[in-house]
């Protein structure tokens, strides 16, 4: 009897774990979400501490798409997010020119920053349409690719009158954060003669639609 109870409990927890790997929404099967946003609301934010003044900047030129099975995001999530270096802004024109310049990101030679999704780890279901997880992928910047692990939170919204105001179709919103080490990407951490932190915090807030 004891063994039956233990088996039942084990099966229950296993089913919970399996169920917690996807969204419980109206949509089913494989869905592809496009992140191109003509309004420029999709953005990557970068933060760096410097001895003089902390730098917070954004990049709104985001494109790319992801594909996943709604019921099993963990094993099926694939895709690439691309950020245009030319769209990076830090609030000071001279600094922006320097960021895009040959001594930093070299936008002319390496116009895009990309993140290729490889694997989803440590999934936690926080609501029927919300998941928290870690996503491992190749981050390519300044022509150098390195594997990074980002902490992410994803929400799946079925199409409604509210979502239509943003974009047609179901919406897939992702918020992620990770750190990149400038020297790993062959970038000198001097910006207009001012030393910036070696580690840059990168945050991403993007919303994709499956009808774009």
């Amino acid at each position: 009897m004891n063994r039956v109870v233990k088996t039942f409990v084990l099966l229950f927890f296993m089913s919970v774990v399996v169920m917690a790997q996807g969204f419980k929404v109206k949509a089913t099967g494989s869905q592809t979400f496009n992140f191109e946003d003509k309004n420029g609301r999709n953005q990557m934010t970068f933060f760096s501490a410097t001895p003089l003044e902390d730098i917070t900047g954004t990049a709104s030129g985001i494109t790319g798409s992801v594909t996943f099975d709604v019921a099993n995001l963990v094993k099926t999530l694939k895709g690439t997010i691309t950020v245009s270096v030319a769209s990076m802004k830090s609030g000071i024109d001279l600094r922006d020119q320097h960021i895009r310049g040959a001594n930093w990101l070299n936008a002319e030679k390496f116009p895009n920053i990309t993140f290729d999704i490889k694997e989803v780890l440590d999934v936690k279901q926080t609501a029927d349409n919300k998941l928290e997880f870690k996503v491992k992928g190749d981050y390519t910047m300044h022509g150098v690719s390195k594997e990074v692990v980002a902490s992410a939170e994803a929400s799946y919204l079925d199409e409604s009158e509210q979502t239509k105001k943003r974009a047609p179709g179901d919406l897939f919103g992702v918020r992620a954060k990770f750190y990149v080490k400038l020297s790993d990407y062959g970038i000198n951490n001097q910006l207009i003669g001012n030393k910036v932190a070696e580690n840059i915090e990168v945050s991403v807030n993007i919303v994709g639609s499956n009808k774009m």
Binding site: R41, Q43, E53, T56, K89, G91, I92, Q162, G173
Partner: protein
């Protein structure tokens, strides 16, 4: 120091003090900015997103530049006025 020299010094120092006051009033930022990041809440997803808004922030760099120009012009005027007085005395 004659009256004109005194006036040049007073004006120069006043401009320097004014730039410091303006800099402090604008929040004591190091660099001058023409845009600032403003956080807005995304009603659909509940997170905050950052948007750029046009706003001029007077930075320490601009204060230093204006102060330097003011002091340079003040010094030149101080010298010019002194030279004129000395030249008149010699005659």
């Amino acid at each position: 120091m004659n009256k004109k020299q005194k006036l040049a010094v007073i004006i120069s120092v006043s401009i320097v003090l004014a730039t410091i006051a303006v800099w402090l009033l604008f929040g004591g930022e190091i660099f001058t900015k023409t845009q600032v990041l403003v956080e807005k809440k995304d009603e659909l997803f509940g997170w905050t997103e950052k948007t750029w808004e046009d706003k001029f922030i007077w930075g320490l760099d601009l204060s230093l530049l204006v102060s330097a120009i003011s002091l340079a012009i003040g010094s030149i005027l101080f010298f010019v006025f002194r030279s004129k007085k000395n030249f008149n005395n010699q005659q």
